[in-house]
Symmetry: C2
Subunit: 250 residues, 2 copies
């Protein structure tokens, strides 16, 4: 298996490349429109074919490159079933293993940041990794104050689906804003300031409901854009248009 952790700086998003070496098949988890060229270069250099883009949820802070990548590579667009997106070619569902060649990805339904959010567990025995999207972040978690978010639901998702994994399981989030790259379930259970140390659900909900975060900068065009699997909608402000222009030219 080939594994790469890639970073898009303007939205602090991690994109993950997973590839089955024997079959030459690759997938990208949470690819970003701004970094289409970089991601395709990596795939080309490794001699791989991109078969799938897999989003953890409909993002509100960046546009997915799913449609752009499909246009360029003929890959399939994969989204959670609960997102109910007609633009998706395949739908992820808990209990149904998603195969990337010989790589088995186990979808874990982890709503709360959005009502359709999934995490993806890659269990290779010797090494377990979980791609936690915007549910569990390092020393943090995704916000729950917009786009069908629900703090109590996020708490339950993390406690039952993620904190029940073996402590050594590596945590790879969709974002980090402080240069961190990786954590483990044991680490988050021990020291996540919002979720660790057996914090009661009521306390977590209270923390989340009093965060008073600014309105997400891109949400008004990113959500409808991502509901179309990454088509730039017309209302993108000029100062944020550059990835859309690349898209339009491509």
């Amino acid at each position: 298996m080939i594994f790469r952790q890639l970073f898009e700086a303007s939205s602090s998003t991690f994109t993950y490349l997973l590839a089955c070496e024997e079959q030459g098949i690759a997938a990208l988890i949470d690819p970003v429109l701004e970094t289409v060229g970089r991601d395709l270069d990596v795939i080309r250099e490794l001699g791989l074919t991109l078969n799938y883009t897999i989003d953890t949820h409909v993002h509100a802070d960046h546009l997915t490159s799913a449609t752009k990548l499909k246009a360029l590579t003929d890959c399939k667009i994969v989204y959670p079933k609960q997102a109910d997106l007609p633009c998706a070619d395949l739908h992820i569902e808990e209990g149904k293993v998603f195969n990337i060649g010989s790589i088995a990805l186990h979808p874990l339904f982890t709503p709360g940041h959005t009502d359709h959010h999934y995490s993806y567990l890659l269990d290779q025995g010797v090494q377990k990794r979980v791609f936690t999207g915007d549910a569990l972040l390092i020393d943090a978690c995704g916000r729950t104050d917009f786009q069908s978010g629900d703090a109590g639901q996020l708490f339950d998702s993390i406690q039952t689906k993620l904190f029940s994994l073996p402590g050594e399981t590596l945590v790879y989030p969709a974002h980090d804003y402080s240069g961190r790259h990786v954590s483990s379930i044991a680490q988050e259970m021990a020291r996540n300031p919002r979720l660790g140390n057996d914090i009661p659900k009521e306390e977590f909900v209270q923390i989340m409901n009093s965060l008073d975060l600014p309105y997400p900068r891109k949400i008004d065009f990113a959500v409808p854009g991502n509901e179309a699997c990454g088509i730039c909608p017309p209302n993108v402000p000029d100062y944020l248009r550059s990835p859309c222009d690349i898209h339009d030219q491509g």
Copy 2:
């Protein structure tokens, strides 16, 4: 392969269990006297035989359980060649792979915390891990103000031997004092406040030489004790003797 990250709370030490499943052979990296019973229980539950204890260096903050484990299991005691310990059965040397059954451990000579310190690289292609002992810690590094420490040498070791590894390589240190369990080379290169972000050597040396840390609590008996591979010396103060008493009884 079996991998376990174990923790000893009084010295905040991580002990790592590596085992070759097919051959049933295990090794412990940096085992601690206080947790001999716990470590042997884990090995027994997994149906393994302990073949090796491998220290990254002569520790000053805890006593190794190497001798105790040898007495109980007939394992071999492994130490860096440069530590020059007559009590060691086998000696680690850079350039010579150390095999635990089918697991290949690559010793990297990383002096600076002590003059004989090693890190151990486990390269499984799909996943690279480096056990960094007290050289590179998460967001920190080992102190360099006693026991043959040298800040300039530590800087060179980390920059040339560790920061030259692929960014995805997981960093597993011998200690963490804040509940962190794992990092990656990319993460430490980006945000380690002492060593990241291309800090110049002079600045690192200045940081290290002005830390003004307290005198290590156990150093006066831990260093001679560990130079004997974990024999409790007579000068252990009463309030720290309990693991030695366990040792004497065993």
